[in-house]
Every structure is written in C-alpha cells, then in structure tokens.
C-alpha cells in the first residue's frame, strides 16, 4: 500500500469540493463527506488542506473527523468488510462472526490489512434483519453467517 500523497491531482479534487460549498467553514461537515467520498479517507494532510481552504483551525477539522465514526483517517481496503452489530444480528451471534473476521485477517476493528485488500468495520443494521447475522463486503451482502463460514467468504476474494 503506497503512502498518501497530497499531489496536485488530489489538491484539485479537494479544492473543487470546498468551492462547491462556497469555501465556508460552516459547511465543513459537507466538505469532509464529499472529500472522503472521492478519496476514500481523510489523512492529516487532507484535513490541513481543507482547513486552509475554509479558513478554520485544523484542530477543529480534526475535532469533527475524530467525533463522527463515519469519518476515517485510515484508508479502507479494496474490499471493505462491514459486520452488522444491530440488535437482530447481534442476538444471532454476529459478535462471534466479527471475532472470526478479526482472527482470520489479523486486524482489529477500524483497521486495514497491510496489503490494503481488506478493511474491517462494524455498523448498525443494513435493513436485512431477516438474513441475520449479516456482513457486507463492498456492495455484496452475506446472510446467515456463522464463524466457520468466514474462511469460505474470504476465499472468494483470494484471486481478485
């Protein structure tokens, strides 16, 4: 995985998002949403650049990024895994499924594998409670998971 570089191309992306919100500090949450949508995550360099564009202290930008769990400072993997910990999934054992993903990938919640292939996060309900417990990988939904199904699910991505 290569290190993030705030090159001219990325600067252009951030500048456009900031401009689309009038470069206003009051719109910082929208800006962060927009930029994370395009870059995948919000590394420190990007937050500094956003602070500069919006004329606000970078400490406050970081305050917002660190407050909302939606924002992330670590790049998501090529295949982002989200395990549902909503009530229905949880009572049917999604916590054990999560533990198995952690063990199989060797990473914790909110982390990305060193090769940048998988990242692991949790969420609260994807609206597929009938399939509980549920996990999503990218756009694909996996239902009625058990811990011993995890290896098989990951194997689908072995050669991708």
């Amino acid at each position: 995985m290569c290190k993030f570089e705030l090159n001219e191309h990325n600067k252009q992306i951030v500048t456009e998002v900031c401009e689309s919100y009038g470069n206003k500090a009051g719109n910082v949450i929208h800006v962060l949403h927009g930029v994370q949508g395009k870059l995948g995550y919000l590394p420190a360099e990007v937050q500094e650049f956003i602070a500069m564009q919006l004329h606000m202290p970078v400490s406050q930008v970081y305050g917002i990024v660190s407050f909302y769990s939606f924002f992330t400072m670590t790049p998501k993997g090529k295949y982002p895994i989200d395990v549902c910990l909503g009530t229905a999934c949880y009572v049917r054992g999604s916590d054990k499924v999560l533990e198995e993903f952690k063990r199989a990938l060797g990473i914790g919640e909110g982390q990305t594998t060193p090769d940048g292939k998988f990242s692991l996060n949790t969420l609260r309900c994807v609206g597929a409670c009938g399939l509980a417990p549920v996990a999503t990988i990218g756009e694909k939904v996996y239902g009625r998971l058990t811990p011993n199904m995890v290896a098989g699910v990951l194997a689908e991505y072995a050669n991708m």
Binding site: A44, Q47, E48, F49, A51, M52, L54, H55, M56, P57, V58, S59, Q60, V61, Y62, G63, S66, F67, Y68, S69
Partner: protein
C-alpha cells in the same frame, strides 16, 4: 419598563433587564451560585457557557427539572431557589460524577489550593467518591512553557474558548467522542508542534490542574544554593501590582518594596528591575520609530509602517505564525526581559568581573510565554542563555511560601543599582497602551525638541479591545493603534494588511488588559475586575515616580555613555535587537 423582568430568588424580589441569566441576576443581589464550566471576562466579550457541568443547577417553581443558572434566562414571575436540599444533592452528585474520572492526587497537584473543583468538593462536603469506573489515561504533554495533564481535564472547555474565541490561535479543540472526548490539538500532536503561541491564557482559564505552567522553582533554588553562582533577579512591572493577591491582599495593592525585600530574603545576590530594561527598550524602540517616521515623512518609500511593539513573546509567536508577510513590520528591539539579560551578562558582568557561566539571571514575569522566550536560540551565546530561568508571579509566591516568609508583614526596600533604577514610563509597560505611551513620551521630546507639558496621554489608556488615537507631535499628527488579546490584534492587523487602516505605530499585547492580565499572574478565576484594579495600580505606580520619561533615567544615560554608544548604534544593535522567523508552516487554517 417593558424590558424589565420581575422575579423572586431565594425570597428576594427583584427586577432585571430581559435576557439576564439567573446566575447574573443572583450575583446582582449578592447570592453566589457555584459554577465550574462557566468563565467570563467581563467587558472583553469573552464567555464560555456550554452549560455542560451542571454544577450551577437551581430549582425553578413549576419546572419539573432543575435548570442550569448560567444558561437559563429569567422570565416574568419566575420563583428561583438556589440552595434547596434537592439542589445541593444534585450538585453533590454532579461533582461526585466528575471526580469519578479525576485523579485524586490533590496533595501533589500544581493547582492544589487554587483548584475550583477542589473548592466545590470542599464546599459541598464530599467525603467519598461513590462512582468507581474507568479512568482516562493520557500522557503528559510538556511544551517549553505549558504542561497539559489531560487526565485532570473535566471538559469545561474554557481553554478551548480562550484559545479560539479570545486569542484566535485555534490550537485547541474538543476531539474524539464519548468517554474518549478530551480537549486536544489537531491529530493529538504535541502542543509544541501545534499552532500554540504559548500565551498561556488556557492555563489562566483552567479551573483544575489539567493545564499549568512549567515549574522552574527547583532550578532557581538549586542555583541559589550553589555558592559558585552569582544569582540576580529582574522583576517585570506587572508583578508588583498583583503579587500581593497571593497573600490575601486586595487586588491592585502595590507591593514593590515588599517584593524586593522578599527577593533578598530568598537569597538573590542582586535584586534588579526589568523596568530598567523597559526604559532601555524605549530608547531603542523609540529611536527606531523616529527613524522610520522621519524617513517616511521625507518620502522614503522603502520604510515599512506602522512600527509595532515587540515586547510580548506571545505576540511575537503569533505574528511569526500568522503574519509571515509582515515580519519586517514589528520593531527589531528585544523585549525588556531579554535586553536586561543581554546587558547583565555583558556590561554588568564585566564590571563586576563575573564570567558569563557563573552568572545566573532569573526573571519574575506575569507571563507563561516568557519561559519559551528565554529558551529561544537567538538569545543564547555559546549555548548559555541571556536569561536562565523565567518564573511566573505565582511561582515567586510559591517560593516565598516555601521559606515561610510572612509577605504582608515585610518592610519595604529598594532595588539595587544600576540595573534597578527606572522611570514611570517603564512602570506602565504592564498595562495595555503603556508601552506606546512610554514611547510617545520619549519620541515626542526627541522629535519636537520640546519638553512635554503633560506626560499623561490618557487617550491611549483604557480597556476596550482595539483602540485608535491620534497624538499631536507639535503639528504632525501621529496615528496610534492599540490592541490587547490576540483576537483583537488580528482585527487590527487584518485592517493594516488590507490597507483599510493606516497607523504610524501599533502596540499589541497578547493577554487581555496587557501584562496585568497575564497568564502567569495570580488566578483571577474569571473575575476581570481584579485585572482592572491591577491596571489602575500600574498608573499609580507611574504617577508616584520622580522621573517619568525613559530618556531621563540617569543610569540609562550612563549605560549609553560607558558602553553602548548611540541608541540603535552598532553595539546596541548587536546586543539589543533581534530578528524574526517565519513559522507559518505550523499554520494551516487561519
């Protein structure tokens, strides 16, 4: 009187203007409601009122829940009870919960005895901490001037308010969420690496021991106990009008003579005065100002105006960080503290035959940023600093207590010569507008070659955040700008940068009120009237001096004759002037 609201507080009937909070209304009739997160600098437009600590809750008849007094506005016919059993029990629970994540190491806490949380726990009679639970574990962050111990943070966010609203420095912000929420820097970097300018107003505002200044009292005591060292001390003008508060004296008590006696008792070999160097600063800065003005009036387009004062280390850090395009605008004159160090370790040390290494220069300052200033590399010779240690007014008070000295009973004594003699112009350096008034007194006489009929320039005095005045230099109008508090400085500087306002000279102090409201002064706990009383005392100090213009100080005249030559001459430049650095790489947003 439709804008007046009638209400009852604790059986007192009163009328207050619409928009008044219960807290303000109660205070007006002498009822104290305890507060913790609330912090207000009256008259300076600064108020921290998150309504989050819930210590100020009161009972309002007809309201199901208790309401926070700091946040709730009065309404017609309201009946308020500030100290019912229900209220007291609620306050106890609130403080108990705060203490559940607060280290109970009060015995060794730098804030012990001055801590607002400790006082609340005492006043409410807490005898045990009921709620045992998870405790925060943060690493201490030690910058050259400020220590952050976030395990003690109670999230009142006073520091965040002064850093952002008052100083517009933006180093601190609330970060993370839930139990991990804390006031911190961007990316949790060290304070030293952030945009912090070390003004220390966060330390002045912190109700607990989460923010404190670096303690140098041990270093100074070690030096005092080393027989090989000659240890001398200099005291800033604002210290003598505030030190008494630490010993229960009235704010604004002038304790110059007692302070000198106390410093001798502490064992300093010579007790000198930063005021001497303030007079020297006026000679240098005043000369530089006149030189720039004269060249400007003669049509020299290369002259940068306005000239700005450069005595305040928080302000110097601020313009180095935020106004790198204006580095050639401030005066190059060092601050009085650094000028004193430079003269003490050359002129004076040579006179007495003391080597630089055996001389320890200590300063007593109303300031936290001075600790950083004396560590700056450009103020060192072969690694040996011109000023070795800078103590705050509070640290001096601590040392006086260590020795069991009864400060209030001390008799008066005088500073040593020659570096202890000064004029009234130097005394007013401690008040906002004072440096520029002192410079005006000297510049006027040097420029017009006439004696001032009246040395008091009252148009330069006052406490409003940004002030403008025009002084008549015998037919030549000189426009002067003054700002105190860095947010106010930013307003003034932005006008200068855009060309909207034009000044010949500007004075800026980082702290509200100038040095009298400095971060190293006794804690005022948000009672700004104390700062005002110190400010008035500064002008009394000036009025009581036989000499009130810096260029009339005979020891300054002697110093130039024997050693320095001309003001702004070669030697003066070498010893008394400095240069500034572009630190804008730290600043992203502002």
């Amino acid at each position: 009187m439709e804008n007046m609201i009638a209400l009852t507080i604790d059986d007192h009937f009163l009328q207050v203007p619409k928009g008044t909070t219960i807290l303000q209304a109660a205070k007006g009739i002498g009822i104290e409601i305890p507060t913790l997160c609330h912090y207000e600098l009256k008259g300076q437009g600064i108020e921290n009122k998150p309504g989050s600590c819930r210590v100020c809750v009161v009972e309002v008849e007809g309201s199901k829940n208790l309401v926070p007094a700091c946040y709730t506005q009065v309404s017609e016919g309201m009946v308020v009870h500030t100290h019912t059993l229900r209220v007291i029990m609620a306050r106890r629970t609130v403080v108990d919960l705060i203490l559940s994540d607060h280290p109970a190491d009060c015995l060794v806490c730098p804030q012990s005895g001055k801590c607002e949380l400790q006082k609340l726990a005492i006043d409410l009679g807490l005898r045990e901490i009921t709620y045992a639970g998870e405790m925060s574990t943060y690493k201490k962050d030690i910058s050259p001037a400020i220590i952050r111990d976030m395990n003690k943070c109670i999230m009142c966010r006073r520091c965040e308010t002064v850093c952002n609203q008052m100083q517009t420095v933006g180093a601190l912000s609330g970060i993370n969420r839930g139990f991990s929420a804390v006031v911190g820097t961007a990316f949790e970097q060290k304070l030293e690496d952030s945009t912090c300018v070390m003004c220390g107003q966060c330390v002045q505002a912190c109700p607990v021991g989460a923010l404190s200044e670096v303690d140098n009292t041990r270093d100074v005591m070690k030096a005092l106990n080393n027989p090989k060292k000659t240890v001398i001390v200099q005291t800033a003008p604002a210290v003598r009008v505030a030190l008494g508060e630490e010993f229960g004296m009235e704010p604004g008590s002038r304790v110059t003579g007692k302070m000198v006696t106390a410093l001798r008792k502490l064992g300093f070999d010579y007790v000198f005065d930063t005021d001497f160097a303030a007079d020297l600063t006026i000679m240098e800065e005043g000369t530089e100002m006149l030189d720039r003005l004269t060249r400007y009036m003669n049509g020299d387009k290369s002259v940068r105006l306005p000239i700005m004062t450069s005595c305040c280390p928080g302000w110097v850090n601020f313009f180095e960080t935020y106004y790198p395009d204006m580095l050639d605008v401030p005066s190059t004159a060092k601050s009085p503290m650094m000028m004193f160090g430079a003269i003490a370790k050359t002129y004076w040390a040579e006179k007495l035959g003391i080597s630089r290494e055996d001389l320890v220069v200590v300063s007593i300052m109303p300031c936290v940023a001075k600790k950083y200033e004396c560590q700056r590399d450009e103020f060192k010779v072969n690694g040996n600093p011109d000023v070795d240690y800078s103590l705050t007014t509070r640290e001096l008070a601590d040392m006086i207590r260590y020795l069991g000295i009864k400060f209030e009973n001390l008799s008066d004594s005088n500073f040593d010569r020659p570096l202890g003699e000064s004029t009234g112009a130097a005394a007013i350096f401690g008040a906002t507008g004072g440096v520029i008034e002192a410079a005006t007194r000297t510049a006027y006489e040097l420029y017009t070659k006439q004696t001032l009929a009246k040395v008091d320039f009252t148009e330069l005095r006052g406490l409003s955040g940004v002030r403008e005045a025009t002084v008549d230099f015998n037919g030549t109008p000189i426009h002067i700008g003054i700002a105190h508090g860095l947010g106010n400085a930013r307003k003034l500087l932005d006008k200068v940068r855009s060309g909207e306002a034009q000044f010949h000279a500007i004075e800026i102090m980082a702290c509200p009120g100038g040095c009298v409201g400095g971060a190293g002064q006794p804690y005022h706990h948000g009672d700004f009237s104390k700062v005002e009383k110190r400010l008035n005392a500064i002008y009394e100090e000036d009025a009581a001096m036989p000499l009130r213009k810096s260029h009339e100080n005979p020891y300054i005249q002697q110093l130039y004759k024997e050693f320095l030559g001309e003001p702004c001459g070669h030697k003066a430049h070498e010893l008394l002037h400095t240069h500034y650095f572009d630190k804008s790489e730290k600043n992203y947003g502002l």
